[in-house]
Symmetry: C2
Subunit: 337 residues, 2 copies
């Protein structure tokens, strides 16, 4: 059993811990947290050994009556691999500690690409990270774009990608973020960071991305244009995407008009935390105009990277090949809407 540590038990970390626990070949050796908030409490309730991410703060956990198993240093020492899900920027700071312990580490997409030895998306470059010390699982948006681009590239060839990313302002619980009642170019200048980030997975890709922020919290929305080398029919593209295990091509009859309905559907299906791990592509939107493909896809910012983290563990440790890992991860999590 692979002993997995999760450093940072927030939006991503708590989801990765649950997904790791569900795998047949992995165990959560412990999770680290900076403060004894509601997430620390539920970690203990779930039986995850809880470690203090910052030594100075042990007292806070004592005061809150939450028992600690030790400090993050001890946790990393015990683990075969650590998934760092700390806030952006902290992950890069933690790399020295992971290297000191000689423990391979996964960073999240909020870190700069050069904080890691390589960037990772299970569908696109699984085979490139075995044996590396520090691997970055790309962000939710880059994951969503990569999952779409890879099969298109394989099937038809990609000349150019142009994407407008209409991003949620913050997650549902991030009460301090905006915008309210506005549509902000963000960044105003081009490209947004997403284009270059996708190029960490597809170095030779021609991609231009524009970013916006709007007053919504549920999911991101991508307005996608891909100029293809071939000219398949829209039906053929739809079928191709339906064949992908982490892509949900929304059938018209489900009447899912936006992120609210998709999340409601995920809740009705019993998904943990109403998570939507798949790219949600509106089947009706898949359109070919000459060699230009267009479509809309919604991306759940809190969860689409979770199965990618699970696969990255096996990819780095070399315990399974791409096909086997993705299948195991999907089966254990219950992928597929």
């Amino acid at each position: 059993m692979i002993q997995v540590a999760v450093n940072g038990y927030g939006t991503i970390g708590k989801r990765v811990a649950d997904a790791v626990r569900a795998q047949p070949d992995m165990e959560v050796v412990g999770v680290a947290k900076t403060s004894p908030n509601f997430e620390a409490e539920t970690a203990v309730d779930k039986g995850y050994p809880l470690y203090a991410a910052i030594e100075d703060r042990i007292e806070l956990f004592d005061d809150a009556g939450i028992d600690l198993a030790g400090t993050v240093d001890e946790l990393v020492a015990e683990a075969d691999i650590v998934v760092d899900a700390c806030p952006s920027g902290i992950g890069a700071d933690n790399v020295a500690m992971y290297r000191e312990h000689d423990t391979p580490a996964l960073l999240q997409g909020g870190e700069d690409a050069d904080a890691a030895d390589a960037s990772f998306n299970a569908r696109s470059n699984y085979d490139t990270v075995e044996g590396l010390d520090v691997v970055r699982v790309v962000s939710c948006n880059t994951t969503g774009l990569s999952r779409l681009i890879k099969p298109l590239e394989e099937a038809y060839g990609v000349e150019k990608v142009r994407a407008t990313l209409v991003r949620r302002g913050g997650d549902p619980a991030q009460t301090g973020r905006g915008p309210i009642n506005d549509i902000l170019p963000n960044p105003v200048g081009l490209p947004s960071h997403h284009g270059p980030d996708v190029e960490t997975i597809f170095p030779d890709l021609d991609i231009d991305t524009l970013g916006l922020k709007v007053p919504a919290t549920l999911m991101h929305m991508h307005s996608i244009n891909v100029t293809l080398a071939d000219r398949p029919s829209a039906d053929a593209v739809r079928e191709l995407l339906e064949g992908e295990s982490r892509t949900f091509v929304i059938p018209e009859h489900l009447d899912l008009d936006g992120a609210g309905a998709i999340k409601e559907y995920a809740m009705d299906r019993g998904r943990p935390r109403a998570d939507v791990w798949e790219n949600c592509i509106w089947g009706e939107s898949v359109t070919m105009e000459d060699d230009d493909l267009y479509l809309f896809q919604a991306i759940h910012q809190e969860s689409d990277v979770v199965p990618e983290n699970v696969d990255a563990i096996r990819a780095v440790l070399g315990t399974d090949d791409q096909t086997a890992s993705i299948e195991t991860t999907n089966d254990a999590m219950g992928m597929g809407l």
Copy 2:
């Protein structure tokens, strides 16, 4: 003096009436309204002769103590031209009445293109509508796209336009509209009506448009890609657009990050109703990647068509040429941010 009737005194009609009154060569002969609401009251306060748009409802005005000058039939009979700013669909129904009176009429962009003899944008096709009976001033979004495409076409040639229109859910006073906290593909299928609508102005244009709706009320936002025939520098494009009289290229130092800030700026500048008649293009966003131009523009849905309606009056009646009309309209309204 051109005697102008305004049938429908709501969001567009009241603005057109004020803009017409400001012109040196026009007079508002009267405005017609269906109900004695706050807009009817302010019309009377402003001294616009008020007519009942629906004969059955005269009593409602009597009950509210609002004096009427007559019915819409009488208004149309008195006018040289009528601007129909009734809700979408009603304008087309009114065409028979206008034709009966032999009074030329302008419809708004909410009507189907085939309800009119031609569609109109002052910058793009002023010279094509003289002497026509019924002319449609295209919608806010189509106006915004046309104003951008025309100078690009003249200066560089346009191979293809791809636009994602992130639309406000409703106007600030439309309390019954959504979405709340969502980003909706709208329509889910392609193209949105905007592409074909732009083709009523540019019949040979290759344009694909995608529509979204978000929980904002202030302005629409366009994420634009234009593949040009030439390859000008971004600076050259910026300069070209700065030279357009109904385009405001936002300089970085103004620190206008979105629609809220633009509207605040319009209020500080003393604009009536905080109107923003110009396309607002972020200068920093103007980017060239090979032959692909990208930019963001914000479009004020309530007001950008107002100067277009004024020009359409002169264009249809043939009282002024394009350059003279646009200059007169701009001067009278105070165009230019």
